[in-house]
């Protein structure tokens, strides 16, 4: 059959004729200008940072609905022609897949136009938002309405948004930093076009959707995170009253091996909530590019940067081997009392405290301190000037919050990265009892050899960590299948059975997080 389709690629198993028919029907639903098939115009969706060819994540089209009803109707068309759609909210999952689909040929459903802040309740401190809302937009809204409420956001806060971040179970840096935990109530369009409101939202006339998460019976919200069982069209989130006194600080430590005592000293404070926010323990090489320090000023040879050069960076720029970021959130009185504990802990462990006053002029400190109060910025993009070339994938295993464990993970990662010539650019983000050990595998995406090495390096990291029983908290789309496989067959079987029940034609983001029929 001769293809007349304008699409450069087609979804697997779909004929050009059927694809064109589907596109025509979708155009009738959302309007011509909200469907793009033209290869040039799809460029912004195609840009990825992962070490695989763009081709692997090429999309066939993008559709930009505005409203639940349009999405319901698109689902009908997708089912009719068995065409997979890949929903994104703000589409800035940079280093995890960006806005490109998990599998070649899928239609990206871009929800960025749905950007309404539907409700903010200043008494209950809750918000209800659509997927296209950015953190910057929510920040501006709260400022404009003079609402003293804070939210927690990830580092790319100015351009990313709460719904996309939460459904991928992202993290931030205020006391509400575990974002899924502080979400409350979702609205989801299912593959058959039905609209589900989770928790109390399922009940007609309920006014408790954004305040009580569980509802009655099994709680379903988790099923719509890191999955492909529905398109999330609204999400409730909790906001934090701005504390009368906020005291962010950094504690710097001189040696890599100090991670052990740092974690042992901080864990009790975090579990007891003396430190209420997600503490970050950042390595020198995370801080350096954001300071900014140029790698080439310290090392231009082959392979990973030597420890000796890292030591020089620490000395020249007043950066710790580890840099602990946390804050006190309370009143002056409570913070004064807790500050004494922080000072004692720092003194007892050989750390140097840097206060907000002392942080002035350091870009790395300032963007961190802003993130700890949910003030959007993009300071962390400094990371990308370290190796240059726009390559980045996050390797993000979960660790216990125990000193020996963090040291072991750090050493394992550093050894494997070094073998492939990459630097250890890592941090630990402390939950209550766990840590997200987040490593940015930075490489030059314009260099084919580095592309290959970055892929092989991630692969080795993943499998070596899995052998030790360490699993990922989240993964990029290129490695979704491999990461899912590390969690064993029973879980995958259940995920598949759920997929079959909810989406028998496999039309919502097949392959996302390794789930497909």
């Amino acid at each position: 059959m001769v293809s007349k389709s304008k699409a450069k690629v087609l979804p697997k198993g779909v004929s050009a004729a059927d694809f064109d028919k589907a596109v025509r029907e979708i155009r009738a639903i959302v309007g011509d200008e909200h469907v793009v098939v033209d290869e040039d115009k799809l460029a912004p969706y195609r840009k990825i940072m992962m070490p695989v060819p763009d081709d692997q994540h090429e999309l066939s089209a993008s559709v930009m609905p505005d409203g639940v009803e349009e999405i319901q109707r698109i689902m009908k068309v997708a089912n009719k022609y068995r065409i997979p759609v890949y929903p994104v909210s703000t589409g800035k999952n940079l280093g995890y897949g960006s806005a490109a689909p998990v599998q070649r040929g899928q239609i990206v459903m871009d929800l960025r136009r749905m950007n309404r802040i539907i409700e903010v309740d200043p008494e209950l401190c809750t918000a209800l938002v659509e997927p296209g809302v950015t953190y910057q937009q929510l920040y501006d809204y709260l400022q404009e309405h003079k609402l003293p409420l804070w939210f927690s956001c990830p580092a790319p806060s100015a351009i990313a948004g709460p719904v996309g971040n939460m459904v991928d179970r992202g993290v931030g840096y205020t006391p509400y930093g575990e974002h899924f935990m502080f979400s409350c109530g979702m609205e989801v369009v299912l593959a058959d076009g039905q609209v589900l409101r989770t928790g109390m939202g399922a009940m007609p006339n309920s006014n408790t959707w954004q305040v009580f998460k569980w509802g009655y019976g099994p709680t379903l919200d988790g099923m719509f995170t890191q999955s492909n069982y529905g398109v999330v069209t609204k999400m409730g989130m909790w906001l934090m009253p701005a504390p009368p006194d906020f005291r962010p600080f950094c504690i710097q430590y001189p040696d890599e091996a100090d991670i052990t005592k740092i974690v042992e000293a901080l864990r009790p404070l975090r579990i007891a909530m003396v430190i209420p926010n997600a503490v970050v323990i950042a390595h020198t090489l995370w801080e350096a590019p954001c300071t900014p320090v140029k790698r080439a000023d310290y090392y231009t040879g082959p392979g990973a940067i030597p420890d000796e050069a890292v030591k020089r960076i620490q000395k020249d720029h007043n950066i710790g081997a580890w840099n602990v970021y946390a804050g006190l959130y309370g009143t002056k009185e409570t913070n004064d009392a807790n500050w004494k504990i922080i000072e004692a802990v720092a003194a007892g462990t050989g750390g140097k405290i840097i206060t907000q006053e002392a942080s002035k002029g350091s870009q790395a400190l300032e963007y961190r301190f802003d993130l700890m109060k949910g003030k959007p910025n993009l300071g962390e993009f400094g990371l990308y000037n370290w190796r240059g070339g726009g390559g980045s994938i996050w390797f993000a295993p979960v660790s216990q919050a125990k000193g020996a464990e963090t040291l072991k993970q750090m050493q394992m990662a550093k050894t494997i990265l070094g073998k492939y010539g990459f630097d250890y650019v890592g941090e630990f983000i402390v939950g209550w009892r766990d840590m997200h050990h987040v490593i940015d595998l930075l490489y030059d995406r314009s260099n084919p050899e580095q592309m290959e090495k970055a892929y092989a390096c991630y692969d080795e990291l993943l499998h070596t960590f899995a052998k030790e029983g360490y699993g990922m908290y989240r993964a990029n789309t290129a490695f979704a299948e491999k990461v899912a496989a590390t969690y064993g067959p029973v879980k995958r079987d259940i995920e598949k059975r759920l997929k079959k029940a909810l989406d028998p034609n496999n039309i919502i983001a097949p392959g996302r997080c390794g789930i497909s029929l």
């Binding site: 460029a43 912004p44 950007n115 809302v133 910057q136 009143t331 993009l378």
Partner: protein
């Protein structure tokens, strides 16, 4: 005491139970520059753009395609007309004042 202070903070605003509901749109290219571009391009992350008479077509293209680590921006994020305004403003801008 903490609770009382907070209650004072928020109490006066209770009436505001802010129901938004409107679709957000950019005011103009200046707002986009301030709320997006500036975070990198006036912060030692990306190159300074102002005062270089960068061709408008070049700015528009880089925004849509991305460039190395710079993310690409879709028309749903910045529509064509507003992007054209961003490019015009960057092209005609004065150099940043040095501190």
């Amino acid at each position: 005491m903490y609770a009382r202070r907070l209650a004072v903070c928020l109490g006066t605003l209770a009436a505001l139970t802010a129901a938004g509901g409107a679709q957000a749109e950019w005011r103009d290219g200046g707002e986009v520059y301030d709320k997006v571009c500036r975070y990198c391009h006036e912060a030692n992350v990306g190159p300074v753009l102002k005062g270089r008479a960068l061709p408008e077509e070049y700015v528009r293209r880089v925004v849509r395609m991305g460039n190395r680590a710079m993310p690409a921006f879709r028309p749903t994020e910045i529509d064509d007309a507003t992007l054209a305004d961003v490019a015009r403003r960057i092209n005609g801008s004065e150099a940043l004042a040095r501190e």
